[in-house]
Amino acid sequence: MTPLIRIQREDFSLQDEIDALATGRADIGAVVSFTGLCRDEAGTLAALELEHYPGMAEAEIARVAGEAAARWPLLGLVAIHRYGLIRPGEQIVLVLAASAHRRAAFEAADFMMDYLKTRAPFWKREHRADGTLGGWVEARADDDDAAERWNR
């Protein structure tokens, strides 16, 4: 099982990725997907700008994927993370985890997202609807807590 990792500016299609992962196979019994979207809580956001560290982003997500593959009996693992300007409602990140049974797929997808948020070198900045540049989004302590629970 080789994890598929892509860092890209373009959008992605959940169905296309599931098809690419599972079509023509009879061993996969469960595919769990997580899609992260750009949200605008206050109605003031024009877009999020995602900056990343090319090279390290791929390498770090591959390390997280390797840890997931060592922990659960996975038959497929996909992580796609976008960069650039992303508008409210648009997709930012996709994780797919495939396994024979659902439990491993659910847990691996959850694990991947917890560590993507705290370890993958991406940074979000706000572009406001009034045309001004907003601040850098601050890291959340509860994201660190979510990742830490896998070590308990």
Binding site: G36, L50, E51, H52, Y53, G55, M56, A59, E60, H81, I92, V93, M113, L116, K117, T118, R119, A120, P121, F122, W123, K124, R125, W136, V137, E138, A139, D143
Partner: protein, 97 residues
């Protein structure tokens, strides 16, 4: 590139420094190649050395608790040895996903 070259105890060696997000903005440049003293042992030592280079570095690295670093694309801690790292990155806590 001679990855096996021993680190001299004295003199300097070139490293590529890269900065991201508000660390990049405060330093004022996205990347640079700098001759660092061969005696710098850890990430923490390098941060202290950079802070003495100029006000922009002092500002970018003011909050040492929040600053993150990577050595050749691998996350590092303040006490991590620089070793023979060729590319050293500094950035804020990550906010992807």
């Amino acid at each position: 590139m001679n990855a096996a070259a021993p680190i001299p105890a004295t003199g300097t060696r070139p490293v590529r420094l890269v900065y991201f997000a508000w660390v990049r903005e405060r330093v004022g440049i996205p990347e640079e190649t700098v001759e660092i003293p061969a005696g710098l042992a850890t990430v923490f030592d390098l941060v202290r050395w950079l802070k003495a280079r100029g006000e922009n570095y002092a500002t970018a690295f003011a909050d040492e608790k929040i600053l993150r670093a990577a050595l050749d694309h691998v996350h590092a801690k303040p006490h991590s040895p620089l070793g023979e790292a060729r590319e050293i990155a500094f950035f804020p806590p990550m906010t992807g996903g």
